[in-house]
Symmetry: C2
């Protein structure tokens, strides 16, 4: 069944990529720039998913159109917010559709982000690529397919190993049959690596029987951390492992010493890895400190550490929960707000403003405070275009989050600000954590949350690029003036 | 009495400036850079104010040290948040001290901001000036004193006219004596122009007898809008008026036609004025729309318009209220959050991230979305250093506001997020609006709010500049790299 579904996705995906490339090569024009194709493909996936979930055999007792749209958007955008319980409301067929949407959504975002980031870095700006990319010779297309192949191998490879580990980490007596346990493992491996946060368990990993299964928690955390660290770094890691394994193998078969090639991490990887490490460590310590007498009370010493680590890792932006979110201390919730907003790393299956954006925001005010005329880190200078882009992403995130909170507060004025803000942050950063009020939202509020998930996933900047008329290269220069900012 | 107090302030102020300049000229060293002098002078003012308010004759029945410190900080930082009622808790002597602190704080911030922005624009960056300014010849010092003179003339001129207008706009029978009415007018003119928001009325302008006095509301709004628009633009306006008046006078006395000199607004003024106009207009319309059946219900047609205008103008960042803030609609409160955060304009008596910072944040994502390689507005290019600075100010504002909310939520966990967030935004942007819970804060929370007011006033960036070791001009260049941001 895994293989069959896997092949169906693969064929669909390759077909989608083929269409995508064809359009680009043949219709190399202004109206079909990559930003529009990217947004269009996500919209198409969501609409198809909605219709599939509306099929009678997807649910036990039918579903409203808004709830089907909500679930399809949440799955394709790998958010994980739910309005109906995944495990009990949908049939296995319906759950299979959800897993498929998660897989395609996760692959879509990784592919798209890597596609532009991997080939054209340094040559032309990301924005120029979004407007009109330059893939018009067969050599480039070959290169694109080679990267896509690597993404697929990595994704399916990790998910396959994840599914096996999950299968053996859970107790068989909690499942009705072998195939149930098998489906559970595949579903959670896909949902984990894609940072989707969907679970067939009503209370996610807080479900009795799974609540204290720390090996399961660690396997799923490993999956979503790998998925959230981004393809460029994953690829680096893959190369590193492949090289080391082949070296070990050669050591056994031959006596030749290979000369050592150091694993050189680029600036991007260094920033992402150090920010991720700081957030995971700092988040875990804070979680432990605030929850030790609260939600952690029922856990053993080792369990407290695992649960703190899981609690700090999941808001960026996996969305599984191994504690009762609504029982969390107010201080913990505020820390989770920050972690959700920051989110995962670029070109990954995670959301949020991203670790690199957050790191640049901090480096920027530090270098200004030091009176530096440039931003330096790890003996490299960060290009101005990256700083401006970070600024734009942070400003737009505040704008979208603020607008969504404002609208939902108008539509559901009986709810309090904390709860509304939590769901909106969770939706924008495609986290999926919830204080449990999403299902009580009015249809208008659900629609706002659907839009927020979508905008959070494709990014407001990509949306703006898609709708705005591009400015040609400017062949003039106005006099430059400094503005009074204090 | 006005004259006497005015002269005392003037002497104190000139003494302060003299000290300030002396130190700078004589001790032209790293340890006493302008950022440190600025912060030090505010600290000194706050400490002196605290001791003065602790004097037995300042209050009717004594005051705790934390409340005196809170009130002095709120006055010097022209915030307007209160923990005890200004009119009933303090004696006239105490109220006079508060007015003095407001005046010195307001002048201090205007002077400091103008001082650096006015002379060195274009020559060296604002940050370099904060580290070590170059005032070391007598010509420069003369120029500095000429600007200071203009600031004093403008401030006292506007406040004088404001006091007269306020005096004649209020009904005499609401006051016990002529001197009461006189003190009321002077106090509210100073508090208005300095964007302090302190009032001797228990319910600010919502007080019965003043609630429907629309001419009073408009006079005070004019005062705080003028105070909040910034000295550079005020100076522009002053030159424009002086020129037009002398032209009119010449027209009468001679028959000579003077040739017309157009009033050229610089880029800074254009950005500030257009952003201010949009915020005032947009804010008023939203206020009217959300409150027409709520807090505006008791007002006449004209009154509804004046009260909407006042309600949209006061969060940026005057802090007077002509409606019951705690009765406002949830949507209105969210709009007020945004207006408070944006705040007034640079080099003014108002706070917040400032209109120009907000405008640049929007222009930045728009130009990136259009694929532009530079930021252009009003046929000028905005210098990169201004963009980075705006980014730093926004990032730091989020950091300080987030930390303050987090701390107060820990100290007063019984309060809800909306109320805490409102007081923190109000403190950081030196607004002074309140949902009425400041007085119920624990001592620890009051201390956090005191720090927030202070940081919001002197700005976190200035604080960082003051504590950080400056980096000398760098005589190398690392290779520049673009970071993956998506
Ligand atoms: K998620
Ligand atoms: K104020």
């Amino acid at each position: 069944m895994l293989n069959k579904m896997g092949w169906i996705y693969l064929v669909l995906f390759l077909f989608f990529i083929r269409e995508f490339s064809d359009l680009q090569i043949n219709l190399n024009n202004q109206h079909l720039n990559p930003a529009r194709l990217f947004i269009g493909s996500f919209l198409l996936l969501i609409i198809s998913g909605t219709f599939l979930l509306l099929l009678p055999k997807a649910t036990h007792s039918g579903i409203t159109a808004i709830d089907a749209l909500f679930t399809a958007t949440s799955a394709v955008c790998v958010t994980g917010l739910i309005v109906v319980d995944t495990g009990t409301y949908f049939t296995v067929f319906g759950q299979g559709i959800i897993a498929g949407l998660i897989q395609l959504g996760g692959l879509g975002i990784m592919t798209f982000a890597s596609y532009f980031s991997y080939f054209f870095r340094g040559k032309t700006s990301y924005e120029n690529q979004l407007f009109l990319s330059n893939i018009n010779n067969s050599e480039k297309i070959g290169e694109v397919f080679s990267v896509l192949k690597k993404i697929l191998i990595l994704t399916f490879g990790i998910e396959f190993m994840g599914a096996i580990l999950i299968f053996f980490s859970v107790r068989s007596r909690l499942f009705n049959s072998f195939s149930d346990q098998f489906f559970f493992s595949v579903f959670h491996s896909i949902s984990g690596f894609c940072n989707a946060g969907f679970s067939t368990l009503q209370n996610s990993l807080y479900e009795p029987g799974f609540r204290f299964n720390y090996s399961l928690h660690l396997i799923i955390a490993a999956l979503f951390i790998l998925g959230g660290i981004g393809f460029p770094i994953l690829f680096n890691l893959y190369t590193y492992l492949k090289y080391n394994l082949s070296r070990k193998f050669q050591k056994i078969t031959t006596l030749n010493q290979m000369h050592y090639t150091p694993w050189i991490l680029n600036l991007n990887s260094r920033i992402v890895l150090s920010t991720t490490a700081i957030l995971l460590l700092g988040g875990s310590v804070l979680f432990y400190f605030f929850e030790v007498d609260n939600t952690l009370a029922e856990h053993s010493g080792f369990g407290k550490i695992v649960t703190s680590f899981f609690g700090a890792a999941t808001p960026r932006t996996a969305g599984f929960n191994s504690v009762d979110s609504s029982a969390l201390h107010f201080s913990t919730i505020l820390v989770i707000f920050l972690l959700m907003w920051i989110g995962a790393s670029p070109a990954s299956t995670g959301g949020g403003i991203k670790t690199s954006t957050f790191a640049i925001a901090i480096l920027n005010f530090l270098s200004i405070a030091k009176g530096k005329d440039r931003m330096e880190v790890f003996k490299r200078e960060i290009a101005q275009v990256s700083i401006n882009r970070s600024f734009a992403i942070i400003a737009l995130s505040l704008m979208v989050i603020g607008t969504a909170i404002f609208l939902i507060a108008s539509f559901n004025s009986e709810m309090n600000l904390l709860n509304i803000a939590f769901e909106v942050f969770s939706a924008y950063s495609t986290v999926g954590l919830s204080l449990g009020i999403t299902a009580q939202f009015s249809t208008a509020s659900k629609a706002v949350l659907i839009l927020t998930m979508f905008i959070g996933r494709v990014s407001m900047l990509t949306l703006l690029i898609a709708v705005m008329r591009r400015v040609k290269n400017l062949n003039y220069r106005y006099p430059s003036e400094e503005i009074l900012i204090n």
